[in-house]
């Protein structure tokens, strides 16, 4: 399946775009997505940390992804 991934802040700059598409095996998890994404965008692995949001909520690494999910990369937040 192909999943779409939103990028914000420095992730958006690393992607060179606010959204990228990534091919993943069916039943891929957040952890699988992280690995594939960091292979394609090595600068992502150099961040202090980053979270993954699925459908506007922080998601655990074990969560299985669906092609219809809204998935986003959340670099360390710095609002306020």
């Amino acid at each position: 399946m192909d999943i779409n991934i939103l990028g914000f802040g420095i992730a958006r700059e690393i992607f060179g775009s606010g959204q990228v598409s990534l091919p993943l095996g069916n039943a891929a998890t957040v952890a699988d997505m992280r690995s594939a994404l960091e292979k394609q965008y090595p600068r992502l692995g150099q961040l202090a940390t980053y979270m993954v949001a699925v459908n506007n909520e922080y998601a655990a690494n074990t969560r299985t992804l669906q092609p219809t999910d809204e998935i986003a990369i959340i670099p360390p937040v710095s609002g306020g």
């Binding site: 914000f8 420095i10 202090a48 670099p75 937040v77 609002g79 306020g80």
Partner: protein
Amino acid sequence: MTDIRLTNDPLDINACISAVMTPQAGGIDVFIGTVRDHTKGKTVLWLEFEAYESMAIMEMQKIVASATEQWPLHRLVLHHRTGRLEVGEVPVVIAVSAAHRDAAFAACLYIIDTLKQTVPIWKKEFFEDGEVWVAAHP
């Protein structure tokens, strides 16, 4: 009454305070973030705030719900700004009214502390010699 807002427009501190005033309240605590002119000894020219809007609103709602569960509050306003902000401008205003001041202080501090940890908003600092996404790198 709670009022949560994420906006590109300048925040109206006065309106935030007026919105939480009520004859039932004995105390109001207000936190106002302001853009500092320096960070780690370097001069800041301006900031840019970017948000994952739909999720930021949801996380702000969670924080407000948690605060109103933890403390007996009357009214609560949480406004955050996005876009370019100059030095001295206001990225965030939190106003909380309660019958007793301890609850207002505790809730206001909890909200800003938690917002800085969980709400997907990002700040980029612009210096004379470059720009940095705050907290992105170790």
